[in-house]
């Protein structure tokens, strides 16, 4: 009897707690995410729909957005592959210095991206020994697209590794071992047994790195050369519009980047929902 009587009060308390938590989250996201984002949109459309279209349809803006999309996609593809590989090595393969490598992974987040750019130029610039060698073979790394992709890769390295790695730790290694015992090659065992469970994490990590790369400025402005319609990315174009006193054009191009990031998240999350346990989806 007493147990039953206390139950509604209990539920009510949990309900109140949930409501509190939920309103805090909404308030926090509203103040720190939604408000700034809507300010971007407001400024972007401050000259009307026509002004917005004019800002994003200049040949410079189209080329910059296209370049940003291409380099970010290239980076995301490489990152998905190498990030998974690194995560697998860290989680499953015992090699000397593993702890050290594991600690190194997060460092790109700690370095100002500006320094990343300068470092890459010193390493791969046309005057460096790497750069000279590539130059002799007709490949230009810095002040060209490969340099941009390289900078993006460095800046976003931890995303895929750090989303895939914990899933590998959680996963029972026995399944993979069983497959190998049953005659599968280690690669086949990885592909058929381990990889399916990793897909959601790989997708999330790749998506994070892609979104992050769209807006990357500090390193790209140093390594790209910033020639309009050739090596000028959207983030650098936006910076130029702000510096030239055209905040509405800057906001308009930013809004396009936001839309691309948002749409890719929605698309991938939808795609992913089937593959995830319900409570994670």
């Amino acid at each position: 009897m007493t147990e039953l009587a206390s139950r509604p009060r209990h539920t009510r308390r949990i309900g109140a707690l949930r409501l509190g938590v939920r309103s805090m989250v909404v308030a926090y996201l509203g103040a720190f995410v939604l408000l700034p984002l809507s300010a971007v949109l407001k400024v972007g459309f401050s000259k009307g729909l026509w002004g917005f279209a004019q800002a994003i349809l200049t040949p410079d803006a189209i080329a910059a957005l296209w370049l940003t999309l291409q380099t970010s996609l290239a980076m995301a593809a490489i990152n998905a592959l190498l990030g998974t590989w690194i995560a697998y090595a860290l989680a499953r393969v015992n090699f000397p210095g593993r702890t050290l490598v594991n600690a190194l992974i997060d460092l790109p987040f700690a370095i100002p991206t500006l320094v990343t750019g300068v470092m890459l130029v010193v390493l791969f610039g046309p005057q460096s020994s790497f750069g000279l060698w590539f130059g002799e073979h007709g490949v230009r790394i810095m002040y060209a697209r490969p340099g941009i992709v390289l900078a993006l890769l460095f800046v976003t390295l931890p995303f895929v590794v750090r989303t895939v790695q914990p899933v590998l730790y959680e996963m029972d290694i026995a399944n993979e071992e069983a497959a190998i015992t049953l005659g599968a090659s280690p690669f086949l065992a990885f592909r058929k047994v381990t990889l399916p469970g990793l897909w959601p994490a790989i997708r999330t990590g790749t998506l994070l790195s892609f979104s992050r790369a769209l807006g990357e400025f500090g390193s790209v402005v140093i390594v790209s050369g910033n020639i309009p319609r050739r090596t000028l990315t959207a983030a650098v174009l936006i910076y130029g519009e702000i510096e030239s006193g055209r905040p509405e054009a800057a906001a308009a191009v930013s809004a396009v980047l936001l839309a691309v990031a948002f749409m890719s998240i929605v698309l991938v999350e939808n795609f992913q929902r089937g593959g995830l346990p319900r409570e994670l989806a």
Partner: protein, 343 residues
């Protein structure tokens, strides 16, 4: 090297340096405070010599200690920050247009150009830096169009300084000998030089640093950047084109904020000090050209002479030039179109 590059870079809107904030605590009287917002190039000159000298001069003159809080950054960013509410009493900027922005925003209500030297406190010129011994034989603007020459200049849309570069070329192309060399259309001169540009850095200083890392054969920048680099041990050589543009650095009192803070008298004395022979000599030592003609005459001996120096007024003033050169239909955009079309 990375650290130095990062520290020198100008991405931060406001690098507020509160100089000697605690040193004055010990004195009996609380120090008066003056807030200035300045373009980053003058940082060394100001923090190293000018501000301490001013404090000394002011205290001797009025018996009151003073503390100057200085914020440095790219001229355009500094000007915009003041419009957005960074309450500087005095601005020292690299382009008259950046001061005009404050006038348009209603923050400067007086005619700052009525001050001595038309409101300017220092000058520089647009010049080239080339490799030691000038191996490519670069002497004038027309040499920047050669197919064996790679040119560095900052991006005019991100760097106020680069606007001076483009304006210098645009102006020179309308004067002899460049006029004959380039033909009648100054946008053609821009297109031919721009087609030799592979790297357009964000700021003038970044551009010089890229040159220091070995890229390019020539960098178009301000003379004072070259002087500062040479003084730091860099091996490049300055080449002054036959015709070049005088760069103007204005300083002005921001009426609204100075009055709000009750610092008008102090701010006026600071501006007066900037035009004093002592301060003008400090500018000269830091690579700038003094606004005071007498001090300029005495310090310019060490500077390469300019055969044909023209000013923004010769180009019709900044606002007119902005329309003709930098508007979407301007000569610079037309030149970029040509470069893309010929690529």
């Amino acid at each position: 090297m990375c650290v130095i590059a990062a520290a020198r870079a100008q991405i931060f809107l406001l690098l507020v340096t509160v100089g000697c904030a605690h040193a004055d605590r010990a004195t009996k009287r609380p120090a008066e405070v003056l807030t200035i917002s300045a373009f980053s190039v003058v940082r060394e000159a100001y923090d190293g010599a000018l501000l301490p000298a001013f404090s000394h001069w002011y205290e001797k003159r009025t018996g009151r200690p003073v503390r100057v809080e200085a914020s440095y950054g790219a001229s355009g960013s500094q000007s915009r920050a003041v419009v957005e509410g960074f309450e500087a009493d005095v601005v020292v900027l690299s382009m008259p247009d950046d001061v005009d922005r404050l006038r348009r925003a209603g923050l400067i209500t007086h005619d700052y150009e009525a001050a001595p030297y038309h409101g300017l406190v220092s000058h520089s010129i647009v010049a080239f830096a080339v490799r030691p011994g000038n191996p490519k034989g670069i002497h004038d603007w027309v040499d920047l169009t050669r197919s064996d020459v790679e040119v560095l200049t900052a991006n005019p849309s991100t760097s106020g300084g680069a606007i001076w570069n483009v304006a210098a070329l645009y102006g020179a192309a309308q004067r002899e000998p460049a006029k004959t060399q380039f033909g009648d259309d100054p946008s053609e001169a821009l297109a031919r030089v721009l087609s030799r540009v592979e790297i357009m850095d964000r700021s003038g200083r970044d551009s010089v640093q890229t040159f220091e890392r070995g890229m390019g054969d020539v960098v178009v920048t301000y003379e004072n950047e070259i002087v500062v680099g040479q003084r730091a041990g860099r091996q490049y050589v300055q080449v002054t084109p036959h015709s070049t543009l005088r760069i103007d650095n204005p300083a002005a009192l921001v009426d609204v904020y100075a009055d709000e803070h009750g610092r008008r008298e102090l701010a006026e004395l600071f501006l007066q000090y900037l035009r004093s022979p002592a301060a003008q000599r400090i500018f000269a030592r830091s690579g700038l050209r003094p606004a005071d003609p007498d001090i300029a005459a005495e310090t310019d001996v060490a500077r390469p002479p300019v055969a044909d120096l023209f000013t923004m007024d010769d180009l019709g003033g900044f606002s007119k030039l902005k329309e003709k050169l930098l508007s979407p239909q301007g000569a610079y955009s037309r030149a970029l179109e040509k470069v893309v079309a010929r690529r």
